[in-house]
């Protein structure tokens, strides 16, 4: 399988093959890694690469992986060929327009609405206060615009990822 990755300003191609001896990974057509891979848990691996022992812990984020190599974090965006073609077709600007919503980053409770439908907001203005795990977090408008819709009420519980406020 071929994958395309971005990390630390670098772009590269990775080819993974499995053979009788284990896994073989080629990085950018010129470097070969023979990997003795032990999967300990869903996101936890022990890799032996040419004698080096690495404990790998992979956290799946919304838009990337955080790969902890012996505890040291690297953010890696990685796609296979199909995903890469799909993304290439989507303009970068478009994605930003779709982002004009305020979502709950975690489960919690709406403490206070700071705006009403029709209010004009600037990017960075506080729009809603959500309490989670005993801390109040003021969520901010991602861009300037007009509050189009408020999908929650004060005092109500919200789930992680729920859309709270839509700005146009």
């Amino acid at each position: 399988m071929a994958y395309f990755a971005q990390s630390g300003g670098r772009e590269c191609r990775l080819d993974v093959r499995r053979d009788a001896e284990g896994l073989q990974v080629r990085l950018d057509e010129n470097r070969e890694f023979r990997v003795d891979c032990l999967q300990v848990d869903a996101g936890l691996y022990s890799l032996l690469i040419q004698g080096r022992s690495h404990e790998i812990d992979i956290l799946e984020m919304e838009d990337a992986l955080v790969v902890l190599v012996d505890g040291q974090p690297f953010r890696v965006q990685i796609q296979d060929e199909r995903e890469r073609r799909l993304r290439a077709g989507v303009g970068r600007g478009e994605a930003k327009v779709g982002k004009r919503v305020v979502t709950a980053p975690m489960p919690g409770k709406v403490v206070k609405l700071l705006v009403r439908p029709g209010d004009a907001v600037r990017a960075g203005d506080g729009v809603i206060v959500v309490e989670a795990m005993k801390m109040e977090n003021e969520l901010k408008a991602p861009a300037a615009g007009t509050v189009k819709e408020i999908r929650v009420e004060e005092g109500k519980a919200v789930g992680g990822g729920d859309i709270l406020v839509v700005i146009e």
Binding site: M1, Y3, A5, S7, G8, R10, C12, L14, V16, G22, L23, V25, L27, R31, C37, L38, Q39, V40, D41, A42, G43, L44, Y45, L47, I49, R52, H54, E55, I56, D57, I58, L59, M61, L65, V66, V67, L68, V69, D70, G71, Q72, P73, F74, R75, V76, I78, P105, M106, P107, G108, V111, K112, V129, A132, M133, K134, M135, E136, N137, E138
Partner: protein
Amino acid sequence: MFSKILVANRGEIAIRVIRACRELGIANVAVFSQADRASLHVRYADEAYCVGPAPSAQSYLNMDAILEAARRSGAEAIHPGYGFLAENAEFARRCEEAGVVFIGPPSGAIRALGSKTSGRRLARAAGVPVVPGAVENLSDAEVEACAREIGLPVVIKAAAGGGGKGMRVVREPADLASAIRAARSEATSAFGDSAIYVEKYLSAPRHVEMQILADRSGHTLYLGERECSVQRRHQKVIEEAPSPIVDEPLRRRMGEAAVRLAQAAGYVNAGTMEFLVDGERQFYFLEANTRLQVEHPVTEMVTGLDLVKEQIRIAAGEPLRLRQEEVTIRGAAIECRIYAEDPFQNFVPSPGRILGLREPGGGGVRIESGVYEGYEVPVHYDPLIAKLITWGRDRLEAALRMRRALMEYNIQGIKTTIPFHRRVMADPDFLKGEIDTTYIDRRFAGSPQAWSEAERDVALVAAAIHVFLRDQARLAARTAPAGAAVSPWLLAARQAALRRL
């Protein structure tokens, strides 16, 4: 000595107190909210009673229900831990009324010192220097007026608060109104008391606090300081003992000031006097914490004392068994607070189920944890899930040991602050002891990046293997029969989990 103690708290601190009871041969009683049936403190306790639904106002802050659990179980004393009812004078008073011993100071001392405003007043009277500001319970308008008078930056704080809750720093006049609102609202929900006050915000002070112990006869000891300068959003995240900037003469001066203040307040039991220390090593009294502190283990590691056992003995009327000159500091200890928060996404809380847990071991390593594999960290409470403490013969050994222990610590399923702590323990400023309350903002501003490029190739290879295996597993799952029932007996699945590939 008591024969049974009720622990009016949850999480790691409830377990901490249960352990002390057990080691003293005292029966112990846990209380729990409906969200906490599976919590470890319920499993570890001798007895456990439900005291209400998930929201703490209806359970862990529910004095009636907790006193009723004490009555039902026959507990002779109540340990409040920290937070919740620990600094609530009203609760201490109601315990006194109900004939059950509150393991903490008398309600009068909590009132005298527990509110930051009256604590500052008392400090001034005892000749202990304080930070400029208004020490009264202020209206919104008064906060604004006072802020203008002493000049920005100021910090607005909950009078009944602690742990950074109900606290806001204001640097710009435009932010004043929203900060007042937020502080008051958090104060109300966290402590049931909306009183706030304002004081001058020192620019880059160090936070150094002094642990004291006082028995009923007024014999009061200081057990040395803790430095808690590494803070984020005014919440301590790393603490240590001793402080890198405190030498024996300064320790004695701060210790004696703390003892003087405690004695002026009629203080009994364990307590902490917090100070800010400026660049000239002048110290200013900040506030008193009339309870056990989250970070008490670092003091235990260097003194060899068990503070919770001392609290229990004092509450039972026993005199302190040592004199000031017998309190000795051996080596150095550091504590990292492990929060269920995402360090790669601005530390937003990350509740959820812990799918894998591997704790560090070895010499000089201590873990105070409230979680286990399979446990779901609830959304209702503080995100502190564990504390990792290391000891060394000197500060550097403790720090390098912490770095080593953090590499071993692995929690799957939720995001935690472990990766953040690893970064701190590799930071030259921290290793040199060059820390103050601005340390985190100064050193770790901006989005977190890898701190070395050496292993990026390995990260890329690992990421490719991860998605490769994930894709293969998904493919396999699509061809397998769907909807197979998942039962605990399927845990044997784990048997097949360790795959060499």
